[in-house]
Amino acid sequence: MTATSDPVIGTYSKLADVYDDPANAASCWGHVTQHSLGLITVRDSHRTVVDVGCGTGRELTQLAASHPPPVQFIGVEPAANMRKLAATRASDHANVRVVDGRFEHLPLEAHSVDYLYSILAFHWTTDPQKSVAELARVLRPTGEMDLTFIGRNNGREFIKKTTPVFFRYMTPAMMAKAVSLRQQLTLDEVTALFHDAFDARRLTVSESYRPYYDTLEGHWAWWVRIEGQFVGVPQDKKVACDQAVRAAIATLQTAEGIPYTVHLLHVRLRQD
């Protein structure tokens, strides 16, 4: 699948103009991004730092601003409109460049990267094995890495409520296609995947479950970006399907708000 025909990349490209809206920053994904940013460690010894799936370049330029040259930052982003915004943002930073690419095809030389990080992107890879091989290829033998991405059990409350609804509006074939858009990996699967390519003594794979409470509108604004079903719902059924899905989610209401539990996986590679 090429970048231009990938429905996920196409969807993200369309979202580019609203991606930095306050609603996104305030959503559970904004909170998870901030949490992930706290896990990233750029060292003085790092010379080439790469952000895979850099989006609009917000975190990339934030880190670049606090780590001036000789540290060089490279943002890799497959969605054209996201990449354009990231490049504009990076134009104020002499040590940042933004390139087209994705986990499966990193446009980087072998053993050229000191530190690679990625926030909430690896679950969109279309080929986990190939992607991990690419990561191993571009990292120096002394390279370090932090990847955070969502796992198999993400948003269970929503999935449990909405699966019966989606099956009313989509055929099993459509559902199967939608499911295949996002990797839904367990901790064990991720551990096995990365242990095949990296020194297990330097690698830590962990997971966390955190509930985020929001209003229906707050969740609705950004939940849709994580569920492939929305790409596959036939246009003539979309309004009715959206209404039914919203009604199903509304039944989860509690005094604190509507819960959405993020299953976050963290792959950490360190020298020490």
């Binding site: 989606f166 099993p172 559902m175 079903q229």
Partner: protein, 88 residues
């Protein structure tokens, strides 16, 4: 009848061992009860193919055939696909 019972037993074991789901009754609606999500549904089709030696075409598949253990057993027994019931 004996074939259906055998199929139900095998399906119950498949759900328990491979999907880690305990289905209370053969007629429990797996989807409406929230037991089976979209990914598990896809996994179920794969497991049925592996364990029962059948081929299921997603394009021809009706969700009602997969709503309960009973409907899956009927689908398998009534020519939804060629099934080798002696396989364990």
């Amino acid at each position: 009848m004996a074939t259906n019972t055998l199929l139900l037993d095998r399906l119950t074991k498949l759900f328990s061992d491979r999907l880690h789901l305990d289905v209370p009754l053969p007629e429990t609606d797996l989807i409406e009860a929230g037991l089976l999500d979209s990914l598990q549904f896809v996994q179920l089709v794969v497991y049925l193919e592996e364990d029962f030696g059948i081929h299921v075409s997603m394009d021809d598949l009706e969700i009602d055939h997969f709503r309960s253990l009973g409907s899956i057993a009927a689908f398998l027994a009534n020519g939804g696909a060629v099934v080798d019931v002696t396989r364990q």
